[in-house]
């Protein structure tokens, strides 16, 4: 009962802050910019991926450049940067209050510290989900509105995947759900850093740095890291949303509607992310329960 009250208070605080709307505004703006770019220069963008094949195949630039394709492009560009927007809110959850001097007032109230942390985590998660819903509205429905729908082509490093128009929408929803899990991991980490800190910038910067470091380690693609860090790095698994756009094919090379290539790896990635969320949350709760509030 108290938990619900706390959650409502946290949400109220989040959505009364101007900084919250920076994130929503930024997303809307990036999406619109990408949409504009692809509306005007869609062919050039596609050529980036298909250049090596333009001698062998007729590339149907126009039909490829549909709403689904644009949405995937937007997600590719945007989801890498959304952790920053999540950190901006979640990283400020505890340390921001320490800075304002409200943490000592709140903790001195008849509420449990564990409850407090969990309500802040839950509120961050809801914020993440709302960001993604917002993104879905602009990037998915907006793109469908502007570009129409159609078969989806997804480019990977060594192959491309074509999916039937009617086999695409569920993939977006699955991808958004997965992205929510991935970004919740970031929120949990930012919240943990936030519990350790008494200024609000530190945890935000720390979160973003961790994401950058692991992303770089992952992109280096050297065996040293591929075999040691990467299988357990959460940035590796955060990309799992892309897995829903990798379709399985028959021996004859025909894709199977409704299939996902190696779904077991997606289950594993989701498991790893959940594990991280639990780990971060446990550390945060245990630390905060014993913390002397000196701010």
């Amino acid at each position: 009962m108290m938990f619900i009250t706390l959650l409502r208070i946290e949400l109220f605080k989040i959505f009364k802050r101007p900084r919250t709307y920076i994130a929503f505004g930024a997303i809307a703006m990036i999406v619109l910019l990408v949409q504009l770019a692809l509306k005007v220069n869609g062919k050039d963008f596609i050529q980036l991926y298909t250049d090596s094949q333009s001698d062998t195949f007729e590339i149907p630039y126009e039909s490829m450049n549909n709403g689904y394709f644009v949405c995937v492009a937007v997600l590719h560009m945007i989801l890498i940067h959304v952790p920053l927007l999540v950190a901006l809110i979640a990283g400020d959850m505890i340390s921001g209050e320490a800075g304002l001097g409200t943490l000592r007032l709140v903790v001195g109230k008849p509420i449990g510290r564990t409850e407090l942390i969990l309500s802040k985590f839950m509120a961050s998660t809801i914020y993440v989900v709302m960001l993604l819903v917002w993104m879905a509205i602009f990037a998915l429905f907006g793109s469908i509105l502007l570009f129409g729908s159609g078969d989806l082509v997804v480019f990977r490093e060594e192959n491309m995947h074509l999916m039937n128009q009617q086999d695409v929408l569920w993939r977006f929803f699955a991808a958004f759900v997965f992205a929510a899990l991935a970004l919740t991991t970031i929120a949990a980490m930012a919240l943990m850093f936030s519990a350790f800190s008494e200024n609000s910038l530190g945890p935000i910067v720390a979160t973003v740095c961790v994401v950058i470091v692991f992303t770089i380690v992952q992109q280096l693609k050297v065996p040293l890291f591929e075999q040691t860090i990467n299988p357990w790095s959460f940035t590796t698994h955060m990309l799992g949303w892309k897995g829903f756009f990798y379709v399985e094919k028959t021996a004859e090379g025909v894709t199977i509607d409704g299939s996902v290539e190696n779904p077991a790896s997606l289950v594993k990635s989701a498991g790893v992310l959940l594990g991280y969320i639990l780990l971060f949350l446990t550390v945060t709760v245990q630390y905060f329960k014993r913390k002397d509030i000196l701010s």
Binding site: K13, R17, L105, I111, G112, R290, L294
Partner: protein, 303 residues
């Protein structure tokens, strides 16, 4: 009728090398304004934070409303209100929203009217919907007080409530504190390093230094102890010192300045002191018992 609201026994807290609070014991009675005095860094804030469960004590016991704080934390905190140092509150929210949040956190579902009444009481009703970041320090302090009082707590803990206020703000805060105690029947624990303030509102006093208790008692007793500090102004301090040194009822004589001696003695013997000085042929310029709490405090803590 329960008389003791706060009972603290052998409370200690250490931060690294610093013994912030050292075997501190005290008790606060119902309905009084309990002054908690000490210089900055004396351990007042640490003690108050332990009372509010913000800091976990290393040792010692705290009972509030007759209940063990560790075991009945929520129950106790529901009946306690606190303002700790200068809260900035949620700057991006209005006063009304801030107040509503703290009411909810105290487990109270306050109506709009209740909240507005509370703001009215601290004189912020007109600015209820302005964001707190537009408030002056005094307004924030009053809003902080409103937030601490919104759920009508029996115990009110105020840590340095007059810090950063202008003289008018200080006077207003003082009046509010006195009114809460006198008219509202609340028990208040008020910390300050502004001793003159304490003198004007506290009924009991705890003085701490380096985390240790220096003195505790009713303000009257502390201000009018049997042994008083007396300041004597004479033309010949050397002769006076010699003369006074010969008695066994005058102690701790030292020269405060070239014409001023300070010593301890029973107040009742001041006439006897006068006779002694006159009979010794000394020209008395003044004899003054030291009353001010500040002087008392400075004398006690030796600073």
């Amino acid at each position: 009728m329960m008389n003791t609201i706060i009972r603290v026994k052998n409370l200690s807290k250490r931060f690294g090398d610093l013994q912030a609070v050292d075997q501190l014991s005290f008790s606060v009675s119902a309905g009084e304004v309990y002054g908690f005095l000490g210089q900055n860094g004396a351990g007042k804030s640490t003690t108050i934070r332990m009372l509010l469960t913000l800091i976990e004590p290393d040792e010692g016991e705290i009972e509030i409303f007759g209940l063990n704080l560790r075991q009945h934390r929520k129950e106790i905190l529901k009946r306690t209100g606190a303002v700790i140092e200068r809260p900035d509150l949620y700057k991006y929210l209005s006063a009304f929203d801030n107040l509503r949040i703290f009411a909810r956190l105290s487990g109270m579902k306050a109506s709009r009217k209740q909240l507005m009444d509370q703001l009215e009481m601290v004189g912020l009703a007109e600015r209820a919907n302005s964001r707190v970041k537009t408030y002056s320090q005094g307004m924030k302090q009053r809003l902080g007080l409103a937030c601490a009082l919104v759920h009508d707590p029996g115990l009110i803990i105020l840590d340095e409530p007059t810090n950063g206020l202008d003289p008018q703000g200080i006077a207003e805060m003082r009046e509010m504190i006195i009114r809460l105690s006198r008219d509202g029947g609340k028990t208040l624990l008020v910390s300050s390093h502004l001793l003159s303030e304490m003198e004007m509102m506290a009924s009991s006093l705890l003085i701490i230094d380096n985390g240790r208790k220096v003195a505790e008692g009713k303000l009257d007793e502390l201000l009018n102890p049997k042994t008083a500090l007396v300041e004597l102004a004479v033309t010949d301090t050397r002769a006076a010192r010699q003369l006074l040194g010969q008695t066994d009822w005058i102690h701790n004589i030292h020269e405060k300045s070239i014409r001023l001696l300070r010593f301890e003695m029973e107040k009742s013997r001041i006439p006897e002191l006068t006779r002694l000085l006159v009979s010794g042929g000394l020209d008395i310029q003044s004899i003054r018992p030291v009353h001010s709490l500040e002087e008392y405090f400075l004398a006690q803590t030796g600073k």
